[in-house]
């Protein structure tokens, strides 16, 4: 389904080592507009490192990233966020001392005006409607005025994801959105993801939970030992002996 679509992101030949550990050994893949791209692989195969290299938290040893044909390799996280790449981290990262509403406003505000003009605009920068829409989409209405730090883990996870897409990015990168989430919340995460994707949002999702990724992803990149093992649909991946070997072989 993705072949006819526009290519948004092109990742080419990413290498990243930590001392003797070669976390990424030449990873390449593309993200197409409107798809949910799954990224799977055994623990420690380099998925998180890959996201961090693409999104500027880490500096890749070599390789390139281009967004809509523009080279964005080596840009800082804040620049990439402004260019349209939203994300969450594997470990939950919300602003504990701010309310749910404030968390979402904060997530939206870097995309309005300049740092100085923002000082003279209305406090919510006209983003309150967007915030309310996202709060409603994520069923967080009853928690809008609660401090994020006082929410349950699953609720914080939802908020974290909601923050990642507050700026309406071209691609949202999620690192294990289902990690540590209980079953009913898992169903929630899945529904939100599919709804948003239905509405046109593009995702790249690292996930450990196979069932989850097989259900939501249009295409899946399988990584093993820092390299791309294969790219394919859920069915192709599920039945590929190389994949089974990668998971069971170690």
């Amino acid at each position: 389904m993705s072949q006819a679509r526009k290519k948004v992101l092109e990742v080419r030949d990413i290498h990243k080592s930590f001392g003797f550990v070669k976390a990424n050994r030449g990873i390449s893949f593309d993200v197409y507009e409107g798809e949910i791209l799954g990224v799977i692989g055994p623990n420690g195969c380099g998925k998180t490192t890959l996201f961090n290299c693409i999104l500027g938290q880490l500096k890749a040893d070599s390789g390139t990233v281009s967004l809509n044909g523009q080279d964005v390799t080596g840009q800082k996280p804040a620049q990439l966020a402004k260019a349209g790449l939203g994300r969450t981290f594997q470990l939950l990262q919300v602003f504990d001392s701010m309310t749910v509403e404030e968390n979402l406003l904060t997530a939206a505000q870097a995309h309005v005006g300049s740092i100085f003009s923002r000082l003279f605009m209305q406090p919510d920068l006209g983003k309150m409607d967007d915030v309310n829409r996202v709060i409603e989409a994520f069923r967080l209405g009853h928690l809008a005025k609660e401090d994020a730090g006082s929410l349950s883990y699953g609720q914080q996870k939802l908020l974290d994801i909601a923050m990642g897409l507050m700026s309406n990015p071209q691609i949202v990168f999620l690192d294990e959105p289902a990690g540590g989430v209980n079953l009913s919340m898992l169903a929630d995460v899945k529904s939100r993801l599919l709804e948003l994707n239905e509405a046109g949002m593009t995702f790249a999702v690292i996930e450990h939970n196979m069932e989850f990724i097989f259900e939501v992803a249009d295409r899946i990149v399988v990584i093993a030992e820092g390299e791309v093992l294969m790219v394919g649909t859920a069915d192709e991946v599920r039945n590929d002996p190389k994949v089974i070997e990668a998971y069971l072989g170690h």
Binding site: D96, M98, L105, H142
Partner: protein, 347 residues
């Protein structure tokens, strides 16, 4: 499943503005503020010049504490140089007036700008180091400033400082008389408070809090953490400089000892005791530092022991300071709980 669908339906039927603080809390909050303002306005009619001086000191101290609260309470950047920046403000404005005959108000503005610029420069280490290391860097800067003030006699008057500093006039109206100077410091505190209040409720306030809670996340959301860190230092130090330009004419002399490291530590305590990250925090902290000791005069040298014990108990039981205690009261007694949350708690 059906339970969560129920919940969702309920939520959709209610508007977001129904939640948050109860009306009673709003009345209490705004009522206290109005009462405080009225109290501060009428108090000079009931107390003599000395207490008016003490209250002026409170107002001037609170301005500097507001600056540190912005840095430490909101943006999460500790600074042990607040005393030094007051010194910079006090000396720059005083020397401009005394040696160059510059108009007080112009000297004040120049002194504040100098504090802002040096403050931003001190912010650069904060981009690389955090917590204790940052405390050491700023502490070192404080010592450096005091040494400079002590040793560069030809500029600063050396260890003796500058005596007989005149109080300014405004439109030919002298502020020499204690009551007038008190009202003047009160207006300055009001300006500083409005400034901080405006900034904290603006997007900058959220950016500062984000910086404190989780700089990594802030950056990944596109916030320019470098600029915000430098701005927090610039503004926080600028307010200290502002406070310094007021303390010089208030006490009518400046000397290096006024701006020692000990002073900076005192500001740190004020912000912690008053409540980090609360607008009322610095006002409360400055009260403990400048007004309470006057009331506890009978305790004489035991005051410090009382104070130390009080601080330890406070930090032990209310780590968020006095204002944080107020927040707990709000949480407990003045909360307007939404039916959904109650439902969840019961389930």
């Amino acid at each position: 499943m059906s339970q969560s669908e129920n919940l969702q339906q309920e939520i959709q039927g209610t508007s977001l503005s129904d939640y948050g603080d109860s009306a009673a809390w709003q009345y209490l909050k705004w009522g206290s503020l109005v009462a405080l303002i009225i109290f501060l306005i009428v108090i000079p009619h009931y107390v003599g010049a000395y207490y008016q001086f003490v209250l002026s000191l409170w107002a001037v101290t609170a301005i500097s504490a507001q600056g540190l609260n912005l840095m430490m309470g909101y943006a999460g950047k500790v600074s042990l140089a607040q005393g030094a920046f007051m010194g910079i403000g006090a000396y720059v404005s005083t020397l401009l007036v005394q040696n160059w005959g510059v108009n007080f108000w112009l000297a004040m503005i120049i002194a504040i700008i100098v504090s802002i610029i040096i403050g931003a420069a001190i912010g650069f280490p904060a981009l690389r180091v955090e917590g204790h290391y940052l405390a050491f860097v700023t502490l070192g800067f404080n010592e450096l400033v005091v040494l400079f003030l002590r040793n560069e006699d030809q500029w600063t008057g050396g260890p003796l400082g500058v005596l007989n500093i005149e109080r300014p006039s405004i439109f030919g109206y002298s502020l020499f008389e204690p009551t007038r100077f008190y009202y003047f410091t009160l207006v300055m505190l009001a300006i500083s408070s409005l400034l901080v209040w405006y900034m904290i409720r603006s997007p900058w306030g959220r950016a500062f809090k984000a910086l404190k809670d989780n700089p990594n996340r802030a950056e990944s959301l596109g916030l320019d953490t470098t600029s915000y860190t430098l701005m927090a230092f610039a503004i926080g130090s600028g307010l200290a400089g502002f406070s310094g330009t007021l303390i010089a004419p208030l006490v009518e002399f400046v000397e290096p000892n006024q701006f020692q490291l000990l002073k900076s530590l005192e500001y740190l305590l004020m912000v912690m005791v008053g409540g980090r990250g609360f607008l009322a925090g610095p006002l409360i902290g400055a009260f403990f530092a400048e007004v309470l000791p006057e009331w506890l005069r009978f305790a004489d040298e035991y005051y410090l022991i009382f104070f130390a014990i009080f601080v330890m108990l406070l930090i032990r039981f209310f780590p968020e300071g006095v204002a944080g205690f107020g927040k707990q009261i709000r949480r407990t007694f003045f909360r307007q709980t939404s039916p959904q949350v109650q439902g969840e708690q019961n389930a």
